[in-house]
Subunit: 321 residues, 2 copies
């Protein structure tokens, strides 16, 4: 595949859309529609990893380590900064607000009076922690500020990303895309996939051959949401190649910003890479100690950048009229 | 690798033990020790999928679809049947009792009085559902009947399985192993793994070559817990090969029972395969309708089989004295 546009068209043609696709499209469209006539800023946050199935009746798949920490934390802070948020996330990955609940939540619950068994309470210790979270969550539910849409496979994700972009397109620079999901670079096309679970045969090793996923950031920036503020992420384990790869992505896709980060230090520091500069954001020891999250700083900075962009494009629109 | 024992020794020598290994060993040993002098029956339930890392600083891995539904439900019912349970599970997979909590648990919580903000309670609808679960959970916590140990990778799982077996061995036929975890058949040995995240280079496809994981059921049955009641699972997507593969496993490893199931129908029916017979367990439409789980039937049947085995081996022991 060498031509400029057919490789992603080809991907979409060959990859089945997710289950409940129509329903999910409807949820996204209705959320965007709700804010269309306002001046509310919207951000699409993508979060978690995509799976790459190895069999069409999938038992095995390739995945990555992401559980959606970056995306779910960022979505919360964007809500605090006044955004409405579409949260396109891997099923069963972390969700904004809900992420603060323990996996062993039952340990935080207690019966009011074991004799009557009438009420279950959150115990005192957990209440202190959960109270502000529950209040922020209720507020954003009441005001319809958060829209949750889930995916599992790479194919699901890309189909949903495209329809979300089509929905956001009319909002122009009021829309932001914060593409924090960890999207696979490789996949097995469905026509090359075995139907049934791969069998271990004797002592033979298993050989897998994966194709490169078309770079969707290209049509996304160019065709799907040409006026939106688009941010991508770059995660590496090898720091020495990080900035080079971030710069290359900006040149290639011509979007606004790459958030570059290294696996081992991703919770302490990120580098904001734009065409003409690099800016390090890091937590001080004191900030880390009191439990501040790097996403708080990151989203504040990005909300400022988006505001500048939005204001400038509004001026341009007025001038050109 | 052709010799009978060196392939798994070799696997353990080449694969690093999990983080906090000593701590986990200590938790298992102390739990087993607590019941050693009693006649309490113990079951080790393994649950969830194992990951196979593709890089040593792992960003990507091969996984499977299991989220631990079978294992976590079975562990609950084994507790109901009077067992003490070691639950060796994939991190972030479903846990007994906790599995009934929604992913969006915040939606089940409400403030007692929004003005004073003093208490958070579980809303009425969820209380009806959670009350019996919370009571069963509290009971088993109070009586120290459940021991949770987590793993992530295939290597972690096998290291922990081996030490759990070493710990259970002295209990002889009082111990049961219910190996419901979905263990990978293939892996990349650490000396063949790249250190850093695999890069996509140009438009080249990615080739992966995976080795067969040594069949640990062999040393497990023969050397690690020779007197225990051992049950393995066989999941296929193709029904036509299922029973043949289950029979072959029994011949090869000489354990007691294979629970055979097909991906699409695994929540409705399972087949218990022993050396001389096959027995279908299935939910009737009525049972399914009222929310019964197949694990309830499965564990009841298995508890009976284990009791027979235990009683017989106790008689044998007495007779031989």
């Amino acid at each position: 595949m060498t031509s400029g546009s057919t490789d992603y068209d080809d991907f979409f043609n060959k990859t089945a859309p997710p289950e409940k696709f129509e329903e999910k499209i409807c949820i996204i469209n209705s959320f965007v529609q709700y804010y269309k006539a306002s001046d509310q800023k919207l951000v699409l946050v993508t979060s978690g990893g995509t799976t790459v199935p190895l069999e069409s009746r999938t038992v095995r798949f390739i995945d990555n380590f992401s559980i959606g920490t970056r995306g779910s934390a960022s979505a919360e802070y964007f809500l605090d900064h006044g955004y409405a948020v579409i949260f396109l996330h891997r099923q069963r990955s972390l969700l904004p607000f809900h992420r603060h609940l323990q996996h062993n939540m039952l340990d935080c619950l207690a019966l009011q009076s074991p004799e009557t068994n009438s009420h279950i309470y959150v115990n005192q210790e957990s209440t202190v922690k959960l109270l502000p979270i529950l209040q922020r969550y209720s507020e954003c539910q009441k005001n319809r500020r958060l829209c949750l849409v889930s995916f599992t496979s790479l194919g699901d994700y890309l189909h949903l990303l495209r329809v979300a972009c089509q929905s956001l397109r009319p909002l122009c620079s009021r829309a932001m895309l914060y593409l924090a999901a960890a999207v696979s670079d490789f996949y097995i096309p469905s026509d090359q996939m075995p139907e049934h679970k791969i069998q271990s045969q004797g002592e033979k090793p298993l050989h897998l051959s994966l194709e490169l996923v078309p770079k969707m950031l290209k049509p996304l920036v160019k065709d799907w949401v040409p006026d939106a503020y688009v941010i991508s992420f770059k995660l590496e384990t090898d720091k020495s190649i990080l900035i080079g790869k971030a710069k290359k992505a900006l040149e290639q896709y011509e979007h606004k910003l790459v958030v570059a980060n290294v696996l081992d230090t991703r919770k302490k520091e990120v580098i904001l890479v734009t065409k003409d500069k690099e800016e390090l954001l890091a937590l001080s020891d004191e900030e880390e100690h009191r439990g501040m999250e790097i996403e708080e700083k990151l989203t504040r900075k990005i909300a400022d950048l988006h505001l500048d962009f939005y204001s400038n494009s509004a001026i341009e629109t007025k001038t050109s009229h």
